[in-house]
């Protein structure tokens, strides 16, 4: 494929540039979209087709130690879903936790070209980057887990705010991360050190420090340092009845500072702890609607197989008690941990239907698609391979009604789903799958088709059945190179690592190092990940870099 390309006759959906279905050419040169190319550029005729920026997944679990543990755990899931190679591409296995190659290729077959791994322990960063190197096509980055980092918590306890800020920046640099991730902040120590207990509310102090203090410190620090994407927060009490109060309190803690709330569907439950929940989607989305500083992704549940895979280890243990399935827990020294178990969402089960319905309520009651982003928290709510079906649920009210009629009606009765007539437009879908996440991530070259943008482009045949349409793009172009043409792989691409390098004072290493020598089992000098693991990469500037 030549370095120059012209896509003609396609209907463009490019919300960042306010283009809603207009037929217009796109010109590509050296991996970017440009104003014009010479007449001898290769042409793709997109007559009758829809042209969109490549999809951007803001929250998924696709690489790193916990993902690989989940792969090892489930040969039965892989056996049923082999991913054969082609002359251009490597083979692999699918299922809810695909192998690295299958992950990259399968994202491409949906028209997605960027995905962010949402939870990586710092000590697992090197592993994650190794897997990224074997995850083709897509550009990718990860969020580093710092919310339960013992050293950082000690600094907060001692009120050493400036050192905290420097240490956060050091850790982000040392791991090549994209932003900071908090998961059940403050919950690790009760889990590991207090015989498997957990924090139960945002103001419960453990050793003098509450989740709220941790959340506030990270939100503020990340905003001060101008990270392109704010602190990415998995709230306390995930999955528990009545947790919507925690979620609201977490959002209030942000004040008017930017914060991203992950998979809010799992955090929008009313009712009493220990009893069946009801929906508080309206309360949660109302707060989001009225607070432009907040972005979120939904974490939609889709019926069928899933894999629970979370740094929220106590939650995984609770679920293990419900399913009695094989269960993995991994404690990571000084930093975090994770829990993994196979899971299945079933239509007849009240809780599962309620979760499914709450996700849809959140989408359908959202007033600002730019800030309520499509995700399934892959593979926790279901595989990313179910995005096309989710899109159809949002775009096609008739289909939605059919699906509603098949599920647990008691759960549906606890939601407003039957009253929600809204159908997403293609323009809005483009926002929640492309433009919105790119904007929330601060990726200025992604999520749009204007000159200067990365030439990550998906071309779909326009079809009435939106699931079919989004399942099989006719062309996928990554960095200006055709990867899929006429539904078949015609090339390969490594994709690049997206990361940030916030400035920090190197003196902070002298503060961190003694802690390492006492409490880590890896040498301080061997801890930071070297640039050799980056391969092709892009440093996304922070506001302070600019």
């Amino acid at each position: 494929m030549a370095a120059t390309l012209r896509i003609v006759n396609g209907k463009l959906y490019d919300p960042i540039n306010n283009i809603d279905g207009k037929v217009q050419d796109i010109c590509i040169e050296d991996g970017r979209i440009v104003d014009s190319v010479s007449d001898d550029a290769t042409r793709i005729d997109a007559q009758g087709m829809v042209v969109m920026p490549g999809g951007v997944d803001i929250h998924c679990h696709i690489a790193g130690p916990k993902v690989n543990a989940a792969r090892k755990l489930q040969p039965e899931d892989h056996r049923r879903d082999p991913h054969p190679g082609t002359p251009f591409t490597r083979s692999g296995t699918g299922g809810t936790v695909p192998s690295t190659f299958a992950t990259g290729y399968r994202y491409a077959t949906l028209g997605y070209t960027t995905a962010m791994e949402a939870a990586v322990t710092p000590i697992g960063a090197r592993h994650t980057l190794e897997e990224f190197h074997d995850t083709p096509i897509i550009d990718k980055g990860f969020y580093v887990l710092l919310g339960n980092n013992i050293f950082l918590q000690n600094l907060l306890r001692e009120g050493r705010k400036e050192e905290f800020r420097q240490a956060v920046a050091w850790w982000v640099n040392s791991t090549k991360a994209y932003t900071v991730k908090l998961v059940n902040p403050g919950g690790d120590e009760p889990w590991k050190g207090k015989k498997n207990s957990n924090v139960s509310n945002i103001d419960e102090k453990f050793d003098g420090l509450s989740p709220r203090q941790i959340i506030e410190a990270f939100i503020t620090t990340v905003n001060d340092m101008g990270f392109p994407h704010p602190a990415h927060i998995h709230c306390n009490n995930l999955g528990h009845s009545g947790n919507y109060k925690t979620t609201l309190e977490t959002m209030r803690t942000a004040g008017d500072q930017r914060a991203h709330l992950a998979h809010i569907q799992f955090h929008s439950y009313g009712g009493e702890l220990g009893k069946n929940p009801d929906s508080k989607a309206a309360e949660i989305i109302e707060y989001v609607n009225t607070h432009p500083n907040i972005t979120c992704d939904v974490g939609q549940v889709m019926f069928g197989k899933a894999t629970i895979m979370t740094a929220d280890a106590p939650l995984a243990y609770v679920l293990r008690g419900l399913t009695n399935s094989k269960w993995v827990n991994v404690d990571t020294e000084c930093e975090s941990g994770c829990g993994i178990l196979p899971f299945s969402y079933q239509e007849h089960i009240y809780m599962h239907t309620l979760q499914w319905a709450i996700g849809l309520e959140l989408f359908l009651m959202s007033k600002d698609p730019w800030r309520v982003i499509l995700s399934t928290d892959h593979p926790n709510g279901g595989s990313f391979m179910l995005y096309p079906k989710l899109i159809k649920l949002l775009m096609d009210r008739g289909f939605r009604q059919e699906e509603i009629s098949r599920v647990n009606q008691k759960a549906i009765a606890k939601t407003a789903l039957n009253d929600l007539d809204r159908e997403y437009t293609l323009y809005e879908i483009t926002i929640i799958t492309r433009a919105g996440p790119a904007k929330a991530l601060g990726l200025k070259h992604k999520g749009h088709l204007g000159p200067g943008a990365d030439a990550d482009i998906t071309i779909y045949d326009e079809m009435d059945d939106k699931e079919m349409m989004f399942n099989a793009p006719r062309y996928v172009i990554k960095s200006g190179k055709a990867i899929i043409a006429n539904h078949e792989f015609c090339g390969d691409h490594d994709g690049k690592i997206l990361h940030i390098t916030p400035a920090y004072d190197e003196k902070i290493e002298e503060v961190v190092q003694p802690f390492f020598e006492n409490y880590y089992t890896i040498e301080f000098d061997n801890y930071a990940v070297s640039d050799s693991y980056l391969h092709d990469h892009e440093i996304v500037p922070t506001a302070n870099d600019r």
Binding site: L73, Q74, P75, E76, D77, R79, S325
Partner: protein, 270 residues
């Protein structure tokens, strides 16, 4: 008229022939059958390179030759009958849900793993993991019958949830391990650690067997329902005596670590 497949060339390396299955061959003519794909190791080749094809499949396939290195025969089978004169390789009748397979010789490991229905008879011996789950799967055999006249090895009926496995000879270790439900009858002797982790289901043996510490002896009794099973397998040609049919059995229950609702019945008049 039935279809006859005779092995004319012995494979050098394992031959995967999951295409040999009534579902896939019914009504297909000789030339077309000979052209169907088999995998000789990594070499994608034609069935006719190894088999002489005669006749047409109207629900029945006869196979002959040394098929000890031919795998996946009758995989996913739902209907019809396969008669195999000789030994057969791994994964015979894997995941089958219907139909019948008869093997005159011996079978290898993984006979009918994750089977949900149908019937397999092996006149000789078979290997490990008969009627079991594949690694990682939460459920093994769910229905159907596996009748083996000879001996088998370890993990017979691993994670079985339904159906009948009858073994004429001895079994190896961990017979009925992780069993969820279903019935295993062993006319010979069992190895060690039988029924470990079993939740429900019944394991019957005509001999004394070592018990793991989490099984407890309940009583010696004369289970009437057992007569039906034993008479049935005698009808299939297995050596069951009147004494065994009418006899007393020691009843052990376990695994106490799990639900303690599984049972192991050992013939008491031995």
């Amino acid at each position: 008229m039935s279809l006859k497949l005779s092995l004319h060339t012995k494979p050098d390396v394992p031959l995967e022939a999951d295409v040999i299955c009534p579902d896939k061959l019914n009504g297909v003519n000789e030339t077309a059958i000979a052209a169907l794909t088999v995998f000789h190791g990594n070499d994608q080749t034609a069935l006719g390179d190894f088999f002489t094809v005669k006749g047409q499949c109207d629900g029945e396939i006869q196979l002959e030759g040394d098929l000890a290195n031919v795998k996946h025969l009758g995989s996913e089978m739902t209907i019809g009958k396969m008669i195999i004169e000789g030994d057969v390789g791994q994964h015979l009748g894997a995941c089958m849900s219907g139909g019948e397979i008869v093997v005159e010789g011996n079978a290898h490991d993984w006979v009918a793993p994750e089977m949900t229905g149908g019937k397999i008879t092996i006149k000789g011996n078979a290997g490990h993991l008969i009627g079991s789950a594949y690694r990682g799967s939460p459920i093994g055999m769910q229905g159907g019958e596996i009748i083996i006249h000879g001996d088998v090895k370890n993990e017979t009926g691993n994670t079985m949830r339904g159906g009948l496995i009858a073994i004429g000879g001895n079994t190896g270790d961990f017979t009925g391990v992780n069993m969820l439900a279903g019935t295993i009858i062993v006319l010979g002797e069992m190895g060690i650690r039988n029924g470990a982790s079993m939740k429900r289901g019944t394991i019957i043996s005509m001999h004394h067997a070592p018990m793991i510490p989490t099984f407890s002896y309940v009583c010696t009794y004369n289970p009437t329902y057992l007569r039906m099973y034993l008479s049935y397998i005698r009808k299939l040609g297995m050596e069951v005596s009147d004494e065994q049919i009418n006899g007393n059995y020691k009843r052990w229950i376990g695994d106490a670590i799990e639900l303690n609702k599984g049972e192991i019945l050992l013939y008491a008049n031995e």
